[in-house]
Symmetry: C2
Subunit: 423 residues, 2 copies
């Protein structure tokens, strides 16, 4: 289809009629699909079901009974496995509970109540600002909003956050205390940070001495089409002498069970010491039975990588349905642009300004729940009302194809209406 903005009013009105009829057809199908969250499909999760088999041995190699109390930072064999996977020294990581989000929230709370390395606790400051590369992950922004931080949008480029802007802001304003990063297959765009981006993040000057990079490597081993190598922020910060800048988060939520995986936080030895001191007041230790279950299931880092190849196989055709349908139905219309991610969980699209909310509304009225418009921006407010996140993993392929067909109709319907406003 050719660029719609170039058509006459009459041509658009004719097209609108066609699209309207198509849309009515979908409404009559009574669809009921939820594509709002990045949830793996049940059939995908099934590949981890061997973890629900009988656990025959509940001791670590060293003989520790994982059923009982103790071991704040996790069992050594899981620290080794995940350390090898992520190229992090096991000494520099702590295994957490079932959610890395929880570790991020707790890290932020510690900064608010205790501060870090002798700096004033953030809760005692008048203003705390945080850099939020956007579009980004809504739950990151919710943590900031809950704590009353001022969130500053930083545009994303194909190499990561716009580093010219990041460097300028971080160097100028000491109220800017840190930033969110999803370095690999970012949520929602699937962007992988370039080596230059990572190095600039590690080396940049920051006005705040306690500037923290929250490095949420949520999709660190989650290729769909191609495994991209992203530099390790811990290594780069060490080289740059900014060792204490990053907190590195990871979890197996999208590897084993979203509700019952294991998480980790990694950081400099000095940061790990600081974290453990307070974490030791918070808990005697996280669930070690589940930690051992993960080790028994994967055996080693290579086992986990192979498992991720299986999961990539589950997801690839779904991503293809999304990308092929967008290409077939909307390429050349000028109503939409999108990036083709190499991995992760999402496809991010940009519509004509002012069309995102309307598209979500139209889809909902025809029975398909999309991630809310604005969810990818701080305060749920996309200034252009144009970005939408498509989460293809949960529905079956058949459902997804239906949903994508409807989605494209909704994009056309909203887009044509927008174009007609100025004709």
């Amino acid at each position: 289809m050719s660029e719609l903005a170039a058509r006459t009013k009459e041509e658009l009105l004719a097209l609108q009629k066609e699209v309207e009829a198509e849309y009515k057809g979908y409404q009559e199908m009574n669809l009921a699909l939820d594509m709002s969250r990045g949830k793996p499909a049940p059939s995908q999760i099934d590949h981890a079901n061997a973890m629900l088999k009988e656990m025959k041995d509940f001791h670590t190699k060293s003989g520790l009974d994982v059923r009982n109390y103790g071991l704040l930072d996790g069992i050594p064999e899981l620290k080794e496995l995940l350390g090898e996977l992520l190229e992090i020294s096991p000494d520099q990581l702590i295994i957490g509970g079932n959610a890395s989000l929880n570790l991020m929230f707790d890290a932020m709370m510690r900064l608010y109540v205790f501060g870090t390395m002798g700096e004033k606790p953030w809760g005692q400051l008048e203003h705390v600002k945080f850099l939020c590369p956007s579009p980004g992950y809504d739950r990151h922004f919710t943590i900031c909003e809950t704590l009353g931080m001022e969130m500053i949008i930083v545009p994303m480029t194909e190499n990561g956050p716009d580093m010219d802007i990041v460097e300028k802001l971080a160097a100028e304003d000491e109220a800017i205390k840190g930033m969110w990063c999803i370095p690999k297959y970012s949520n929602p765009e699937g962007v992988c940070y370039s080596d230059e981006t990572v190095k600039r993040l590690a080396n940049m000057k920051t006005a705040a001495p306690d500037f923290k990079i929250f490095w949420d490597n949520a999709y660190g081993v989650h290729p769909v089409f191609e495994d991209i190598k992203v530099l390790n922020i811990l290594d780069e910060c060490k080289k740059a002498g900014t060792d204490n800048r990053p907190y590195y988060f990871f979890s197996t939520s999208k590897i084993t069970f979203p509700g019952a995986g294991v998480s980790l936080v990694a950081a400099s030895p000095e940061n790990i010491g600081e974290i453990k001191k307070i974490m030791g007041a918070q808990t005697i230790g996280y669930d070690k039975i589940n930690q051992l279950r993960h080790v028994q299931f994967f055996k080693d880092a290579q086992g986990l990588r192979e498992h991720m190849q299986v999961l990539a196989g589950c997801m690839r055709s779904k991503f293809e349905i999304v990308l092929d349908t967008l290409e077939k139905e909307l390429a050349g219309t000028g109503l939409i642009s999108w990036k083709s991610p190499k991995g992760g969980y999402f496809v991010s699209v940009d519509l004509l300004d002012g069309c995102a909310k309307e598209t979500v509304r139209l889809a909902k009225e025809a029975g398909v729940i999309l991630t809310g418009a604005g969810a990818t921006y701080p305060y749920k407010n996309d200034p252009k009302d144009s970005n939408l996140r498509i989460a293809p993993t949960y529905p079956t392929e058949e459902e997804l194809q239906q949903a994508m067909n409807l989605f494209c109709v909704c994009v056309k319907k909203a887009g044509i209406a927008k174009l007609l406003e100025s004709k």
Copy 2:
């Protein structure tokens, strides 16, 4: 043995020689026993091993897949089971992760950062004080110490904390923001709060409008010799119109697996709403697979109660070894007094003033690690250096008997030396 304080110096010196020889005998046995923590024995934990069998169904009654994301406050069937067990409406509780300590710490952090019901966050106050009935649980005190609170010791009576003192302090000083309570089979003394104590806690006037009772019902269903009924603080506060005063904590750490149980926080509907709002930024939900595992294992509240009878059977003979040995070796010496608990995990003893540290040191040098002297008091500082906590659950009966024999020798050795100082 008769009261030692009444003996002459010569008699004591003669006795000291005998005790010294006994102690040397133990040193030569090369014991290596750890009685420092309230850890269940492996043989006791084995009774929950059916929870490690294959999990054949991973759906709730309503069809929810517990492997996937969602459900912040826990699966309905576990809320019902624990609600029935504790006589709390399921609406008024939230299921947490593997540790109620974690829920307590998080509750305190929320009070520090966000405050409650519109009151100033505690982190913004000059002074925050907390009432600490003592002897008490060291990990409670560690939370207060980590947050820089001033801890105020309140003596324990056989009916709970000395309520005359609690009422006076709470009414007078608005910097006193709350108190710790272990209402049933308290750690370490095994005290059960009387009905009057619970009612006075619910009804007392507090200068701080946001005074919080941290009600850690850690041993709520943990009888050893006799099941004692303690009033429910949530009910009593509701009657008294102080609904928002208590946070009620519980866990299955000493029911199923200490490292991998489930926990809960219960509170007034208004408090639960406030907690959920912030908890919803902290996590998408706790481990629901483990929640369902608990439901499948116990079936219902009665199943859990029956399981606790089995565990009481494991522990009873151990408590008898402790109490019988104290009686046999030390009754009438005037060197020690103790309470006979009806349940819980500990036996608390009081030695001659200034003898607790020395007794722990002597035991350690003969290969038995006791809970550190002072651990049962804020700042690890027992003003009289007299209280010790005996944790009988972890060793085998044979080991425990050896350890108790040695313990009694150490008490005599430290006590006689103390008496000789003033002869």
